[in-house]
Amino acid sequence: MKFRCERDDLVGAVQFASRAISNRATLPVLSGLRMEATEDGRVRVAATDLELTMETVFAAAVDEPGKAIVPGRLFGEMTRNLSSGQVSVAGTDGEVEIGSGRGRFRVRSLTPDDYPALPIEDRDDSAGVQVSVNATELAAALSQVVRAASGDESRQILTGVLCELEIGSVTLAATDSYRLAVRTLEVVGGPEEQRKVVLPARTLGELGRALQGAAGSVTALVKENLVAFSVEGSAELANEWVIGSRFIEGEFPKYRQLIPDSYPNTLVVDRERLLEVTKRVGLLAQNNLPVKLQLAAELEVSAHTPDVGEGQEVIEAEYEGEPLVIAFNPQFLADGASAISSQRIEMQVGDGLKPAILRGERGDFTYLLMPVRLS
């Protein structure tokens, strides 16, 4: 492998792929970045921790096509510290040489034979379902849903996000059994028969990061054992990338039956107000104590922690229903309110013990929140 390229292109690609580098002692080669230069003047840079695979490509003058596995961290540090301008990279037996200006750096490379095959590179879509979706919409949907996934490793399925794919739409759902976030968004394409997969929240978090500032559309190719999200680049290949993820296998909870059709009590408040008051009052809800919401013509939010302090604040509201009291974990309430993008929030409540529903003015997002039982 031998190519010449711009330092910035190389650094950008290396930084992107490095996010998936793994320090697993069982497969030391995963601490490396896989670089492959092809005859058509492209250099692919990829890394995987087996759960998450990230690959990107940039344009280069390829003198000798080939592959090399370079030590990820060291290579990243070295390229970042090169001065800008043209850089040459050459892989020989067991070594990679970087040339920049009058500098020559040689680092030992890792055994290419040990590197796993990367199934995201198999772009044959005949065996899978392909959809495309607006990048900005997907990024927004991920930020709404991913945070509701569980961090508790003992129930793996809840550490994932359920994706229900059908023609024209995808529904994302996540729950940690205290709250549930569900978002539907439009897609182009989709399977005849609904296809459900559960993706690790962590990989979707990385996808959300990569989508920041992306315009245009994202293509998702769902195959038997993985999904690959890809973004097409410009003619210079800038910003072209693929992120792949394995599935979490198992039965995701049947979340639809948890969402009641409707409740008799409906509160409408300003979203910003609810968010700032929850944060302020929430400071006095320590030791896992909840914030208390008194729903009436106005909304009173209060908290009390013995030996710490107490606080309450009133928010003007529109309310239809019986006056009632319900209490929530302040963080989970704030998460729900900040996930909603509209100016006003609708909160539907059954009684103080049934889960409450938070919705925005658009009907595409639902946040279900378990109340905390007041003693």
Binding site: A25, T26, L27, E51, R73, D113, L226, E249
Partner: protein, 382 residues
């Protein structure tokens, strides 16, 4: 060529290969056999056979998938082995359960090979059981054990049980000779290794294993008083510590290698800690292996004396036949010899359950002095 080639001659493994090639698969397998039965190699061959793309269910042994599986470098073939005395529930959760809930990375089937599965403590076995009861699609579990009785019945009943035979003595001798070991040494090693090819290789290899064996064989003769017993116990324990020190040197190289692969800095600490933890447990295992070697060899010495008295067909330690003959002619009682053999076996099992090392060795030596009293061996040539 096939992944099964190096295992030819072992009839039970050949039958296993036939089951696989006939697509007669189970979700969970339990391969039972002593350490010489090649069950580890058989499990790896099974993993390659189910995943080989060139020769599905056979395992070509030559494609990238087969080669990486044989080298233990495949992302979908997971090796779980005790890092200390036991396989604990945390290890099962991290290395098995979390992985088992993921779709395969690149292979047709994920394979989990649990070496020395009997070392799972009951909590770990119960955690595994839930996964065995509801295996995801494309998942195969292969449990390896030499001590079936330590496994919960509920685990055993979930598995297809395969009993593997030891590797025949002649086969081992042929293999060693083919590897360039002189005929005399190859024959003797094949005899004393108890069907364990790896043990035979280590005996004929460059390490201290052969010297250590001579040391172990000298112990019954040197055990002439309780004071000697305590000295010899210390000698054995020291020998084990020596092996631990050798291992430590090797581990230092590994630490350097890891540092080269990872570089310094953020995020590398957990990998370093994991390695340090593994190293610590590994040292405990090295120590236990040497002590087990000592007890096994001493046990085989006493058993040989009994064997000589009843005709001598199955004598193991042919190189000390003359000394064994002297013991057989002496006044040592059969019952005493039997008790000595038993004591060696029970001490080994106590050590595998984390017993205090110096204390176990001391009480064992004292008991051997008592069961095979030095004065009953009067006249034994040495």
């Amino acid at each position: 060529m096939s992944v099964w080639d190096p295992l030819r001659g072992n009839l039970s493994i050949e039958s296993l290969a036939r089951q696989m090639s006939a697509d007669d698969l189970a979700h969970s397998w339990l391969l039972l056999g002593s350490s010489g039965s090649d069950k580890g190699a058989a499990a790896v061959a099974m993993a390659a056979a189910v995943n080989c793309e060139v020769a599905p269910m056979l395992g070509c042994g030559d494609c990238s998938t087969c080669l990486r599986i044989l080298r233990h470098r495949h992302p979908d073939v997971h090796h779980v082995s005790p890092e200390g005395t036991f396989i604990l529930v945390d290890q099962i959760r991290e290395s098995v359960i979390a992985e088992a809930t993921r779709s395969p990375f690149e292979a047709t089937s994920k394979v989990f090979i649990l070496e020395e599965a009997d070392r799972m403590n009951p909590a770990a076995q119960n955690a595994l059981l839930k996964t065995l009861e509801e295996p995801g699609p494309a998942t195969m579990f292969i449990l390896l054990s030499a001590r079936e009785e330590e496994l919960l019945e509920t685990i055993r009943s979930r598995c297809r049980v395969i009993h593997l035979q030891r590797v025949p003595e002649e086969h081992i001798a042929t293999v060693l000779q083919a590897e360039g070991i002189a005929t005399d040494k190859a024959l003797l090693a094949a005899r004393v290794c108890e069907g364990d090819l790896h043990r035979a290789r280590s005996l004929t290899g460059s390490g201290r294993a052969w010297e250590r064996r001579s040391l172990w064989l000298s112990i019954p003769r040197r055990l002439t008083s309780p004071v000697d017993g305590l000295d010899l116990a210390a000698e054995i324990v020291n020998e084990a510590r020596e092996a631990v020190r050798d291992r430590e040197m090797h581990q230092k190289d590994e630490v350097v290698e890891l540092a080269e692969a990872l570089g310094e800095g953020r995020g590398t600490t957990s990998a370093r800690n994991a390695l340090a933890k593994r190293h610590k447990r590994e040292l405990r295992r090295v120590e236990e292996a040497v002590l087990a070697e000592a007890l096994d060899t001493m046990g085989s010495f006493y058993r040989d004396v009994l064997a000589l008295r009843s005709g001598g067909e199955s004598v193991t330690n042919l190189d000390v036949l003359e000394e064994l003959g002297g013991w057989a002619d002496s006044g040592v009682s059969d019952l005493g010899l039997l008790a000595a053999v038993e004591r060696c076996v029970s001490a080994r099992s106590a050590l595998s359950k984390n017993a205090n090392v110096p204390l176990t060795m001391e009480t064992t030596m004292l008991e051997l002095t008592e069961r095979v009293p030095p004065d009953s061996r009067a006249g034994v040539r040495s």
